[in-house]
Symmetry: C4
Subunit: 246 residues, 4 copies
């Protein structure tokens, strides 16, 4: 029995969401795993995300609508991602967020394993300057399979994230969010790029201080990046269009 929101989603938004999956794969942020979602454009208590499939293979037909408890409302037999609760619980906790990306991008993972905070190495990653907390699933849930596989775990993850736009997950990966699909994708990509740059900077610094963006510089640069991000999006979106016909 269908329980859709009743609010149709423009086809171009669905196509952009499917394209976002492929963009994240092309940029090396996701591999066979990871997912991106979009809050429903007119029903704010719903979100849209692909069925459980490798991100590089997502098509518009794979997009499912979920309520904020992460129940699929039009699955029609399509399997859901186990970790969809990451998305639903962040949308509940953060009305300002319209899009969420979960990935295991490799350069980011080390920062969730040792006590070294991510810092903003360049203005493109200005959103990091506000700070990046670490969610350790073990603290509340003991030894697990590491997955955010139910609402309870999603609630704690969202709570650790608080008002930030990126949260690391110990021995697992990270989540990046934004006020638009394009900004969330941009932040997921540049969290990974920034982590790569920070690894080399840490190796180089010896005892020196890193002259990273401070929070005020980060705030100022992030404001302008939300426009600039569209320039990267157009490049990446064209890459998908060159490959498929949507």
């Amino acid at each position: 029995m269908s329980n859709e929101s009743g609010s149709p989603v423009p086809a171009n938004l669905i196509a952009d969401l499917a394209a976002a999956s492929r963009i994240l794969a092309a940029q090396g942020v996701v591999d066979g795993f990871g997912h991106v979602s979009l809050r429903h454009p007119t029903a704010s208590d719903r979100y849209l995300m692909a069925r459980s499939v490798a991100p590089a293979l997502v098509t518009p037909d794979d997009i499912i609508e979920y309520d904020l408890d992460s129940n699929p409302v039009n699955a029609n037999g399509r399997a859901s991602f186990i970790e969809r609760f990451i998305h639903g619980e962040i949308y509940k906790a953060r009305p300002d967020i319209q899009s969420v990306v979960h990935s295991h991008s490799p350069s980011v993972i080390p920062f969730g394993l040792v006590g070294v905070p991510l810092q903003a190495m360049f203005h493109t990653a200005a959103f990091i300057a506000a700070g990046v907390p670490v969610f350790n699933i073990r603290e509340k849930f003991g030894p697990t399979d590491m997955l955010v596989s139910n609402r309870e775990k999603g609630v704690v993850l969202a709570s650790v994230m608080g008002g930030k736009n990126v949260v690391l997950m110990r021995a697992h990966g990270s989540v990046a969010c934004g006020p638009t699909l394009q900004t969330a994708v941009f932040r997921a990509v540049y969290t990974e790029v920034n982590a790569r740059i920070q690894h080399w900077t840490m190796a180089l610094k010896g005892g020196a201080t890193i002259a990273a963006l401070d929070p005020e510089e980060g705030r100022l640069a992030d404001a302008i990046n939300q426009t600039a991000a569209m320039r990267a999006w157009e490049l990446w979106r064209k890459g998908v269009r060159d490959e498929v016909n949507w």
Copy 2:
């Protein structure tokens, strides 16, 4: 004179095994060297592996059947890999293993050269949390060409591996195994990815402890990964299908 097992192998399994070679090449786990095998699906005292050829070039016609002493039974003039004994001796020692990958993937090699153990940096590489032993061919065999070129060397390698699913080979490479072809390929790929992440984590940590998966987390996450691995396999398998017609 042929001495085949008499048990025909479904063509799709042969194609999957050939595809596995190409997948490992596409993922950077093997280059001109390395091999993957599959225990015969109905004759457990036999295994299947390509003739001696670069993994990216393997086709279904290259697959040869071997007995567990690693004698080819239908070579028909095709050359065998010198190191096939890695496979035969592991199949003998480990009835639970149905597939074996041998590679020289570059990020893994350093862990066989110094006394630093591989640890599971993220849940996708949970299979590493059980521990990864190191086989040093020199200990039993003195100075050699480093190759596991006969049964005796294969027996010692399998014995060092014991009940684990990955074993490193000093100054050579590694072996990853699994209960299915898909799981063995998955483990070979993520042993390399995990090693890359661990290099950066080690560089970052200073004196800190790495909050890697512990054995219990590893056991729980590995159970679920054996299903999840199919999502990666389908992505990778499609990549091969897009290139060849099998």
Copy 3:
């Protein structure tokens, strides 16, 4: 109202400038961001640069003419890069410079964040041996969005660069210049390559001295590189021609 220089630019120069954008993208020096300009070949108080678009998408139709105050003179509604003042102010300060590249190439950024100078690791990067200063926008302008978004900031950047051919920008990126388009592109590419090599050299050296090119070796090798650079340019230019028809 148009205020063009009145001096027409040969179509092949415009095509080469557009190609330079795509070359920098193909070489990993720029991603969705970054830009390259060329001083007008016959009106030395003008320069040419693409409208605000991702470098990999630039076509000859995107090239706009600017005066040295970085006012577009034939924009016709096309948006300009915010940071075009980098280019205009360097052309004012440095009559010997005919081309400027601004990028955020990732290996270079760490050298602008800690007090470790870039050094010339090999003869191809000889132009680095003269020294690479660091522009910290914060020193004169306090907390900003990090962008060189007006003439005043461009003037200070050009002044920090002085007579050198590369300048780093703290927590942002770098600028490479040259007496020809080809040399500027070459220097932008090999600044990034050299930075990668220097990271590994620093990691390897322990307390040892790095036997980098000294300034005299740098001067001698740079002279010959300005011819050699054409061999790389021809390779890269052909790559663009294989992709587009200009």
Copy 4:
């Protein structure tokens, strides 16, 4: 006036030499710069090498014959590489060598800049276990443009190389040699791969010893690699054939 050796070279050898250039480019050993040569198959006082052009663009028509003083004998107006003396002087000093590769492959350069010797990290790079000397052009020639641009410099380089198969050039690059074209290409590729692995191993080791191949293991493994190298060659050669029709 032509002064050719009079001994025609089989077209397939010329094609293989041109293909070797493209293979080295495809493997990341050379970029716009670098060159590979082959001793004339029947006139041992001659060698064959491409005109001065980016390695990825070499075709059979670009191959020029040189005497061992590195004078072109059939240039017909085609420009020669400035550093051809590397090749001529090694062929004079080492009758056992039939092929020489010069490159600036990036992971190798650091080992020529600090006092850390390359070691053989795995059996594929066994040829390194015999030791890799470093040629510092400054020692005999003072400050220069770093290029081996005449016979005198080539003689000293060959003398530093001695009986080894790889020599590093301070702040420049390296040379790899072999008894066949295929072996020289193989060694150039795996010198770079080995250097990458050694960087990570050095970073990992702390104070530990690296259990690299010792000279005896190196000798034994290198003997078998000269056959194994053909498996890699066939893979790489096919890659070139898939791109061109020779």
